[in-house]
């Protein structure tokens, strides 16, 4: 996954970057499976790798011009960018290694619930009449998708 990420940000050809991102997303889905989250893995494969990346590939094909690949690929402030990222990385390392309670976030060996009921339990959280806490967020997400559809169509039309 790290290799895929590095390939995404360093390739000149945008199609190569897109393919590297697809492999990263599929590896991410595999990681979700290892974390006993099969529903999120399935959603990732369908939406991210099968939907968003198709969108990206279409747009790359529409607007990727030959001249672009021969130009300079990195910004003029790439050094500042890398320094900022390194500083952030230092912050991460500081947080992850110097905590008092020790980051032994245990998994207790193997848990009894594999993934037999994973989808059903997510549905409980989302939809259950009494215990579902995410119903409102669900409706708002559907509204957001509607707004995004209208926005994307309006932005990409030739004549409004």
């Amino acid at each position: 996954m790290i290799v895929g990420g590095i390939l995404v940000i360093t390739r000149k050809n945008a199609v190569h970057s897109a393919l590297a991102l697809i492999s990263t997303l599929l590896a991410q889905a595999g990681l979700y499976l290892m974390l006993y989250a099969p529903f999120v893995a399935g959603v990732q494969i369908i939406l991210y790798a099968g939907g968003i990346m198709v969108l990206f590939l279409f747009v790359i094909m529409l607007i990727s011009i030959e001249r672009n690949m021969k130009e300079r690929q990195f910004n003029r402030q790439w050094l500042v960018g890398i320094i900022a990222a390194a500083a952030l990385g230092g912050l991460f390392i500081a947080v992850y290694t110097t905590t008092t309670r020790g980051r032994t976030l245990f998994i207790e060996g193997r848990m009894a619930y594999g993934e037999n009921q994973n989808t059903q339990m997510i549905a409980n959280l989302l939809f259950d009449r009494r215990a579902g806490t995410y119903m409102f967020a669900f409706e708002i997400a559907s509204l957001l998708l509607l707004v995004a559809i209208i926005g994307a169509v309006v932005m990409a039309k030739k004549r409004i």
């Binding site: 990420g5 999120v40 991210y48 998994i107 957001l144 932005m155």
Partner: protein, 111 residues
Amino acid sequence: MHAMLDISTLHYLVLGAALFLLGIIGVLTRRNVIIVLMSIELILNAVNLNLVAFSRYWQSIHGASALHGQVFAIFVITDAAAEAAVGLGILIAFFRNKETVNVDEVNLLKW
């Protein structure tokens, strides 16, 4: 030998942080807008990985139905899809006007 294979939550968090850093480097240093958008997707993926890893940790404490992290991750994926669509729409509109996909050359407001 088995002890080496025990993957704790910390490992996932470190991986998420590494991906996040890669995404940040991509956003800050590349000129091609599409690559910047793809780096944003990398960042969102790193965040999702953190969320799901923590949901697993939460499950080990609070029982198997504490899947809040996973539900949150699903919402993040949905929002990433919406944002990618709108971002690419903006990109297409922008490309139609200026005929370039480099971020540097969007400098009409520069003094």
